[in-house]
Each structure stands twice: as structure tokens, then as C-alpha cells.
């Protein structure tokens, strides 16, 4: 096994591209499932059952639309008798604006994770989101999107800073890294190649093969940029020397020439800027780091954890759990011209994605096996948009840029409180302040008061429903499922014994919204 991993990791860029057969979604998904079955079998793992429709519809909405489904959407899906209704739903969600919006947020988190830690950087977030939005809404292939990012014009001296002020720009990727060549080298290799070179900035990597010289050779591609030491400079006088290809290693009497990760020297004969040459190499279909990293990232978005985990840490000491699956997805991504939706279709069509999160055997407990669906934290945006969906809260937004939200809205307050510096959604933790806000805060309180809640008052006041039907509707609104027999009994007893059935239903709704089942994806 390790030998195979080493072999896969060691693929050299100079090697000619292997001929890969282009598979259909169904074929690729079947192949992934076949590989998993083989690995479960050899590891003695008994996978969880296939998810029920209720479980699946909630997960799919959260993963593709960034929110839970409405009651009507759940009912429609549960009532659909077509055999292929799961893939039909995938297609319809992939076509929705909600998908573009959700993917925008996910990729913003992936590409500029540090943006929220500095107040100056925060201003750049809406522009970055608008840029991502335009990429996803027009279906730009992933390689072209990354190429755009890596080659965006940054000459503020030439254009008076127009590019940086643009309503839609990937410039935040550079600005949060202060436009420093070393930060950009680390960010590029980590975000797009899955290689953590950071350690090699100051010394040869202690556990890996990266040498300090290799790090700075990559940084040399960015040596034409002037580091942003203050904001004024960023706005007005950042000049890029497009042909700069050398950089000196700080505190060492040595300069190095730009070279790709494995040491190959670029072809400079084409009169292209250093960043353009770098972008060509990074985004090439022949660059195995690039396609593997992309496939691993998309896998992690849907499965909670990468086949290489952490998602951006490909190294000999951190082998892939299922290298053949990863290679298959990477190859197919290239074969399908870097269409991310192809990966989304394939992954969501696999049995491994569609497993239940309910653990039925101890062998399913290690997330490394992907033998049951993971239980994962929501992004703050997923959480608030789900709360809004469940409670019938109308979200006003600004038409000129839906990503600019005023700091005073309930949404902004929520996003701030639930913003997580954390890493893996499988390790998501809740703070006391978050718990208090959900339990006693104004927003949830209004949503669970008979006077103010759309959903609740609609259900309580609707004359033709029995208490049991009211209960069931509240469950569908919050958890996208009907209550179990024991839940039904406990809740119904509570409602029917109360003096005011409306207030008792409000209590049930409060409990539903505060449950981990509501606040997590599973």
C-alpha cells in the first residue's frame, strides 16, 4: 500500500500525460464505489446503510444550496416516486443560484481563510466573493478560474488602483498575503497544489523533502510584486516588474532563480510575465498536484474530510487513505476539462456519499474509512440561511452586491458570532456564547414566539391540522424529517398536557432549532 502511495506521489511532471478514458458520471461513481467496497472488505469494515430519503434531501440541500430544504421541498422529494429522483434533484440544485452562492462561500473560505482576521482585509471580501460568483455562475472551468486569479493585474501605479477597487476581483488573494513573494509562494502551493511549503521558508523542511531553495525558487515567480507595507501604497503605487525572476533569500547571502516545485526550469522564450509562466504550469492538466488537490478539495467539501487529510497537506508522511479514488477523480477532472460540476455529480451519485450517518457498526467510527456519512459543522452562512428557511424569516439583501451585508442585520450578527477559525468541519465545536445566542437570543426567541414567527404562527393558526400534523410539520421545517415514534409520543404528550397548545408547540420548535441535529450536517 505504501509503495503504491509513494509511486502515485512521486509522479514526475516531465512524464507524458497518461491516456485516460473519459467516464460518464454513472461510470465514475460506480468505479469509486467499487474501490471503496474493495477497501472496506480488506479492512473488515461494514459500511452503514444507504441514507433514507429524508436524510439525503437535507444533506443534499445543505451541500448544494447552502441551506436546509423548505417543508414543501421535502414533501415534494419524499412524494416523488421516480427511481432517479436523487440525481434529478442534484441537477436541479446545480442549476440554482443557491448553488453559485454556496460554492462562492466555500471557495472563499478555502482560498482566503485569513480574510476575516484583519479588519482591513475584510473590506476585500465582497469583491472576492463577487469574482467567485461570476466564475461559478458562468461555469468557468476550474483551471481557467485559477489562472485568472494567478495572473490578475496588480499594477496600481498604472491604473490608479482601479483593479483593486473593482467590485469584482480576486485581488484579495494577494492583499491578505501582503503581496509578499514568500507568502504568495506558500499560499499558491498550499491552495492549488496541496503542498505545505511554509516550513521550508526558513529552513529545509524537517519532515519532508522540501528544501529552502525550492521554496524561494517558487517565491521568485512573485518577486516582481512590491510587498504592501501600508494601505496607501496598495491603492496607488504598487508597481509590478513583470519579468523579475530572481529573489534573494533573507538572512542568507544567496539569490535563487524562479523554478517550479520539482526544480524544472521554465521556458522564458515566450515573453510572458513570471506570473503567467507560473500560472501555465500550476493549472496544466499535466500537473498532477493541481488536479489531485482540486479533486481532494471537492471530495472534502462533500464528505467532511479529504482523501488526503488535512486537505492541503499532500506529503510522503501523510498518505492518502484511498489513493486510487483520488487519482480516478483527478484524472476524470482533467478529462472533463476541469468542470467542477462533473466532480459534484460524480461524488453525490456515489453510494459512499449517500450512506447514512447513523453508526451501526464500530468499524464505521474512523472517518478515514468513509464508511458512514460524516457529522459536520455548518458554515455560519449555512446555519443562518437554514434558520431563516426553518423560521420563515425574510432576508433583505442589497441588489448591487448581495455579498455586502450591513453590520446591523441579524444575519451579520450571526455570521460574526459563528465565524470559526477552526479547521476541519468534523472537529467543529460550539462556544458557550453561541449556545446562549441560540437558546436565549433575540432571533431564535422571535422565531419561537407565537406573535413573531412566520413558520410557527402559520402552523399553530392553521385550523385544519391536528396537533400531530402540526408536530410533524415543525419537524419537517427544522429537521426535514418526520418525528420517530418515541419522539412523537414524548412531544405529543407534552403538547396535549399543556394548557396552551400554541405555547407548547413553540417550546417544541425551540428544542428542534437548538438541537445538534438542526445545527449540523449529517
Amino acid at each position: 500500500m505504501l509503495k503504491l502511495v509513494a509511486l502515485l506521489m512521486g509522479v514526475c511532471l516531465c512524464q507524458p500525460p497518461q491516456s485516460v478514458v473519459r467516464l460518464s458520471v454513472a461510470e465514475a461513481a460506480a468505479e469509486v464505489d467499487r474501490l471503496f467496497e474493495r477497501s472496506w472488505h480488506s479492512a473488515g469494515v461494514r459500511p452503514a446503510a444507504l441514507s433514507a430519503d429524508e436524510e439525503f434531501v437535507r444533506r443534499l440541500y445543505l451541500d448544494l444550496a447552502g441551506r436546509i430544504p423548505a417543508v414543501s421541498e421535502v414533501r415534494q422529494f419524499l412524494g416523488d416516486v421516480r427511481a432517479d429522483k436523487r440525481s434529478v434533484l442534484v441537477e436541479s440544485l446545480l442549476d440554482s443560484p443557491a448553488f453559485v452562492r454556496h460554492f462562492t462561500i466555500l471557495w472563499r473560505n478555502a482560498l482566503i481563510p485569513e480574510a476575516f482576521s484583519d479588519p482591513a482585509n475584510r473590506q476585500l471580501v465582497p469583491g472576492f466573493e463577487a469574482w467567485l460568483w461570476s466564475q461559478f455562475s458562468s461555469g468557468v472551468p476550474y483551471d481557467r478560474m485559477v489562472r485568472d486569479l494567478l495572473t490578475v493585474r496588480l499594477d496600481t501605479a498604472a491604473d490608479g488602483g482601479a483593479a483593486l477597487r473593482a467590485a469584482s476581483s480576486p485581488a484579495a488573494f494577494y492583499v491578505i498575503r501582503q503581496q509578499r513573494p514568500e507568502n504568495l509562494a506558500a499560499g499558491t502551493s498550499r491552495s492549488f497544489l496541496g503542498v505545505r511549503l511554509d516550513c521550508a521558508q526558513c529552513h529545509d523542511h524537517p519532515f519532508d523533502r522540501w528544501k529552502q531553495g525550492q521554496f524561494w525558487s517558487l517565491a521568485a515567480f512573485y518577486s516582481g510584486l512590491s510587498p504592501l507595507d501600508d494601505e496607501v501604497q496598495m491603492r496607488t503605487s504598487a508597481v509590478e516588474r513583470r519579468d523579475s525572476r530572481r529573489i534573494s533569500i533573507p538572512d542568507r547571502d544567496q539569490t535563487v532563480e524562479a523554478a517550479f516545485l520539482e526544480g524544472e526550469l521554465p521556458d522564458w522564450s515566450t515573453n510572458r510575465s513570471a506570473r503567467e509562466v507560473l500560472a501555465d504550469w500550476v493549472t496544466s492538466g499535466r500537473n498532477p498536484w493541481f488536479s489531485r488537490m482540486a479533486a481532494n478539495r471537492v471530495w472534502a467539501l462533500f464528505m467532511g474530510q479529504g482523501i488526503v487529510h488535512p486537505v492541503d497537506d499532500f506529503s510522503e508522511n501523510n498518505p492518502a487513505s484511498h489513493p486510487e479514488v483520488l487519482q480516478l477523480l483527478a484524472d476524470q477532472l482533467v478529462a472533463h476539462d476541469f468542470d467542477l460540476k462533473f466532480l459534484v455529480r460524480t461524488i453525490t451519485a456515489t453510494r459512499v456519499y449517500q450512506l447514512s450517518s447513523r453508526q451501526t457498526d464500530d468499524s464505521q467510527s474512523d472517518p478515514l474509512h468513509f464508511a458512514r456519512a460524516s457529522v459536520r459543522g455548518l458554515t455560519p452562512e449555512q446555519l443562518f440561511d437554514s434558520l431563516a428557511e426553518a423560521t420563515g424569516y425574510y432576508q433583505p439583501y442589497r441588489t448591487e452586491n448581495p455579498f455586502v451585508i450591513s453590520a446591523e442585520t441579524p444575519r451579520a450578527t450571526f455570521l460574526e458570532l459563528f465565524r470559526d477559525e477552526g479547521d476541519s468541519p468534523l472537529q467543529k465545536e460550539t462556544t458557550i456564547l453561541q449556545a446562549l445566542a441560540m437558546m436565549n437570543g433575540e432571533f431564535v426567541d422571535a422565531a419561537t414566539s407565537l406573535e413573531n414567527s412566520q413558520t410557527l404562527s402559520g402552523i399553530v393558526d392553521f385550523p385544519l391540522m391536528t396537533d400531530e400534523e402540526r408536530l410533524e410539520t415543525l419537524f419537517l421545517a427544522a429537521l426535514s424529517r418526520r418525528p420517530s415514534a418515541s419522539e412523537r409520543a414524548a412531544m405529543l404528550q407534552y403538547v396535549q398536557q399543556s394548557e396552551a397548545a400554541g405555547a407548547a408547540l413553540a417550546d417544541v420548535f425551540w428544542a428542534l432549532l437548538n438541537s445538534s441535529e438542526f445545527m449540523l450536517n449529517h
Binding site: 477497501s39 479492512a43 476575516f116 482576521s117 484583519d118 479588519p119 507568502n183 499560499g187 511554509d198 488535512p310 497537506d313 487513505s321 450517518s357 447513523r358 453508526q359 451501526t360 478515514l368 457529522v375 459536520r376 459543522g377 477559525e421 477552526g422 479547521d423 468541519p425 468534523l426 472537529q427 467543529k428 465545536e429 460550539t430 462556544t431 458557550i432 456564547l433 453561541q434 449556545a435 446562549l436 445566542a437 437558546m439 436565549n440 437570543g441 426567541d445 414566539s449 420517530s484 418515541s486 419522539e487 414524548a490 412531544m491 407534552y494 405555547a503 417550546d507 417544541v508 425551540w510 428544542a511 428542534l512 437548538n514 438541537s515 445538534s516 441535529e517 445545527m519 449540523l520 449529517h522
Partner: protein, 442 residues
Amino acid sequence: MTMQRISRRRLSGLSGLSLLGASLSGWLPRLAAQVQQSGQRSGRSCILLWMPGGPSQMETFDPHPGHENGGPTKSIETSVPGIRIAEHLPKLAGQMQDLALIRSMTTKEGDHSRATYYLRTGYLPQGPLTYPALGSLVGRALQREEADLPACISINPFRALSPSAFTAGFLGPAWSPLVVASETSADAEVSFRVRNLKPAARLSGGEVDERLRLLGVLEQSFLADRPDVPGRSHVQSYERAVRMMKSESVEAFELEQEDEVLREAYGRNPFGQGCLLARRLVERGVPFVEVSLSGLTDGAGPGWDTHANNFEAVGDLCGVLDPAWSTLLTDLRQRGLLENTLVVWMGEFGRTPKINENSGRDHWPGSWSAVLGGGGIRGGQVWGAVSDDGLEVRENPVRVPDLMATICRALGLDPAATNLSNIGRPIPLADHGAAAIEQLLV
């Protein structure tokens, strides 16, 4: 195929399930008993007086009268012969026997954001590594198992300079500071509240308990088959939140229980009353409390950033700092808490020794002051010295990791003890190469 990976943060079992599932009334009396017992606390605590913006060393603990860089600020005698501090801190001067002044802090970080991160975490911001704030590190290391208040409480933080320097970083949200903000009423009464601590007024106590019982039903059925970290953490933090809501320890926030004369002595302002709250929290066993002095009113900006009008502005802030801090020391001493409570005073950097054209001082990381006092510290001394013009450290330079190591040691912690970080690398409490200042430690 089998590869073992260890969950980074272990959570203490499924205790939450039992609490939420069981009748809440059952464990309330038990909590009350615990609170009474915890009156005699044994552990150590730390109070950090955080000065956002970077206080001027020249107008506080390292005055240079007679030199043009010293400006108009005079120095005064203290209770320790030979040690003189700025005239703005007369009450504190009387407590010098319990304070150790460090006059040789030195860093290269003159940017608010980076410097704030550095001084509050002990590390420079570095790519994907999210370092925990000192309070989270200390809180986690010193928290008692049965505590019903959070391990780290931050009073009136001014976070805008570096929001990530106010988080638990890779320790995880369970250790993030509980933020408490002051509110000053029209008649200048300062009070503190934890947001959302009280359920809506229309709900009776019985109804709140019923809601929690229903929640327990849901949690039990969901978590029984899904024993993963996110769900367990969710229940655990609800349990902690409920425990706090119901705990008698939250009476710590009710400052009106205090003697009027004492409240007056601390100063009737957000910082003064914040210091009083800090004492009340430490008294109830909270291992780390920080109080920020950002300005003279609620929610004011980083007042120590005195680029203009430095002398008057620092004088005004010291008018708040001096009575609050000196009363805090006296109060802790009288209650027998001082020997176990370390009090730290610092900002992210100092101010330029040269006075600018606006009678201001600008950012100066090269040579500035910080102060340690109380538990674990040998007071009545000065460590390090700067040149006559204040521009250079002349003796015993102290780097940030050295300061962190000294704080750890004063609290009985090993600075080399590590936590596993978000990138899987063990990170020591104080950075590699840190050397505690032995001469300042008891």
C-alpha cells in the same frame, strides 16, 4: 490499511447527555453545594490588564524627566526606595513592593494588528497556524474540572486591531474567551452582562426547564448513533451554558453586592468596575480574566494610541488606571488572593521616545515597559533599562517569548509544555528559545 489518527481534542465523554436528558432540578442543589465549597479556592489565577493601542512608557513606568524626550512628565517616588515612576500613577506608587517593572521590552512589530497578535498569543501570525490567546492557554491549563464559569473571561475587549488575537485558536472554541461588555446607565451606573444569559422574560422557569427536557429527548436519539465530536461538543457547550445560567456563580456579575466605598475606590467607570468584576471572578475560581482599558467610556477606541496630545490623553487614562489597579491589588491582598493571583499590565508596544509635532508619540516596539505583580512575582524591583534618550534597550532586553515564559512560570506552568496545533505540530506555551526572567520569580 489501518491508520491510526487521534482526535485532536478529546471531549469528556457524553456527560452532557445525562445532564440535558435528566431533570434539571436534580442537579441544581448539587451545583449550589459546589459553589459554597469553591469559596476556598486553591488554584492560581491571572488577571491581565490589557492596554490596547500601546501605552507610553515615558508617561507611566519609565519617565525620563530632564531629557527632551521625557517631555513635561515628572517622576515620583514609590514605596520602594530608588524606584521612581511617572507622576500620573501616585496610588500605584504606594504598591511598588508588589510590582516588578520590566523596562526593556523589545520587539520589531510596530503594526497594531501584528503586535497585538504577538503580545496576546506569544507568537507572530504565521499562515494557517491559529495561535490561542494567552487567556485561553492559561484558562485551559488551570481550569478546575467542576467549574461552572468559563476558564477565560474577557471584559470590555477592543478586538478590532486583531480579532484573531482574542480567540482560542487551535485549542478550539470550547476555550474561547467569554466576552463581557459594560453598560453605563444615564446616571453613570456601570453594569456588566453576558449577552443572552437570561431567557426571554415571558418564559417561566418551569417552561425553560421543559424546553431543555424536550431538547434532551432530541439529543439522545440523535447522538446515540452519531457519537462524533460536533454533536458532543454541541451538547457539552449547552450544558456549560445552562450550568452558567443556573449557577449562583453568575452573581459575580452583580456588582451592587459590593460595598459602596470599595466600588468608589475602584472608580465608577467601565475599567474600574471591570477590575472589581475581575476580582469577583477570580474569587470564584476563574483562572483567567482580562480587563481592557480602551478609553474612558463604553466601547471607546484604542485610547493609548496617542499620536496626538499624548500627555493629556495618557494623564486622563492613568486617572482611571491608577485607582483601579491599586485598589485591585489592595482588595486581592486583603482577601488573601494576591499570592495566588498574577496581575499583568501590558499593551502591544510602547511609544516613540521622540515627541512628534502634535505633542504625540507614535508606535515604538524597540524599547518599552510592561509590569508583573502579585502571585509568583518578586515585587519591588526593576528589570532592564533603556538609554537616557529612551531609544535603545541598554540592559537585559526582554523578548515576547521571555515575557510569556515568565508569566507561565509565575502561574506554576511549564513554558515548554505543548498543545497540539491545527496543523498537527506540538506548540509550546512559550515559543522555542524562551527564557523566563528568573530574577522576577518567587
